[in-house]
Symmetry: C3
Subunit: 210 residues, 3 copies
């Protein structure tokens, strides 16, 4: 892994840990609950990816990730004194960064391990969405991915862009940054303009859903 | 795997993907949410089975499953225009087919990989029930398996029948079809007549539960 | 594994299976639902630990655990006729025993498999908390670990005590029993006096949370 990719990976862990810790603040958890929710959010997706690919789980190989999560969670508790005052948009933003980063880095890792392209894109999607999904399920909230926002699509776009750019010979750094930017732009646009794909149902002429 | 078993396996993936997509329709998810829920339902159980058995996850080895799920989900969206009008019984039916098929095929796979009989039956049960369980948890619904219907019992029956018939020398095809039929019959009977096992509680003489 | 540790391990499986079965009783599940919930609670944590560590899952290697869980669940159904009359404290107690035992034994197993200390303590925490977490998620309840009680902290303390005592040359038996006692004492004290860590939020001068 190049230095840049390593930095992006650490950054993704930090923003996802932050999103888990902020969610914990909304639910008034104690400090250890905050650490647990931060950890689950930050390493859940990558853990499932590595287990399915049958490779060594990344944080078992490099426990540094655990210390980063612990530090992020404790700093969040120390610095953010009124978690309920943090606007919800901030949580969405951290989640979007983590989603875009992990989707692309997860796809890249799967391809390096020899997975077929379709499997690699699914692995990237899992890496990007699973941590937040577990975070939401534990808090008894229907996961973001299942509500009407462009979420899984942004993750898939990131993976597809990365595969596409790598195929056309761009360097790993360029492919990664472009793909992350693309996925992030799509997700942020969806949040900002509240764009969403048409739901799987018909709206009748009077505008009532059935 | 014989041609018949391969066909049954694909059929199981299709009906579970359909059940996930129909559930997504009830919750008005966007198309990518539908694909994700279909995928989780269709491959969740088999993924957990393969990970626990320490073998290569089936859809990593054969990405064709991913395309089948994608096609099923998109066809469901295209063809079923008013998902809320689909009677709930239809979802239960698709789920019952997937349950019976996956429970038996999961048991068979575990036995082929050398697992003891008790482990193989548990593996079959996991293959049959876990996908639907994750689908229900994501939608914030208490899983079917935990409500008062003969559900896990049907899955276990399928696995036990398969082990039993194989032990008495029936061919794999015959054992599989008979076991699937048995499990499916039990589950459909439970749905049709709303049969259920007595719940783990006492009903007093006046008929009040405690 | 020494005889003592093996006995403790079995005991942990029994108390967690009991806690799952009692929870099932509160939700009036049928007997097979009870068995499933007992099994998920008893082997969920250890299964995730073994899968992440890439070692053979313990109950696949020794199916005796499955029979123990089945027996525990059936005995619970047979002997406890009015599950709703069992005080909630009893469920909390069984859960606390399982938590303390599995956290320490999980840490010990990870260390024996060569994991770094930080990873081992996380593995112990996962072993201790994940089974109960899945039980609660399936029943659509916010997991104990995320509510305001000293829960994850007790699990981590067990793992840390074990590492500490082993490092200073105490035998495995002594280290295990001391660490389990420490974790259990902390958890029981938290239940008894309803002690909890300050939640991640500020209480203003008038005592209103924000």
């Amino acid at each position: 892994m190049t230095d840049l990719l390593y930095f992006l990976d650490i950054f993704g862990v930090i923003v996802f840990a932050l999103s888990g810790a902020l969610m914990a603040g909304r639910y008034q958890l104690d400090p250890f609950g905050v650490v647990v929710l931060a950890a689950v959010t930050a390493i859940g997706g990558g853990t499932i990816r590595d287990v399915i690919l049958g490779t060594t789980v990344f944080w078992v190989a490099s426990p540094i990730y655990l210390y980063i999560i612990l530090t992020t969670a404790l700093l969040t508790i120390a610095l953010i004194r009124r978690p309920k005052r943090i606007p919800k948009r901030f949580l969405l933003l951290a989640d979007a960064f983590g989603l875009a980063l992990f989707a692309v880095l997860g796809t890249a890792k799967a391809i390096k391990l020899g997975a077929p392209v379709s499997v690699a894109i699914v692995m990237g999607t899992i890496t990007g969405v699973a941590g937040g999904m577990i975070r939401d399920v534990l808090c008894n909230v229907i996961p973001m991915i299942l509500r009407q926002e462009i979420y899984a699509l942004a993750a898939m776009l990131g993976g597809i862009l990365f595969v596409f750019l790598s195929y056309f010979g761009f360097s790993e750094n360029v492919a990664t940054i472009s793909a992350v930017s693309g996925a992030l732009t799509l997700r942020l646009a969806a949040i900002y303009w509240q764009v969403s794909l048409p739901a799987f149902q018909i709206i009748d002429k009077e505008g009532n859903s059935e």
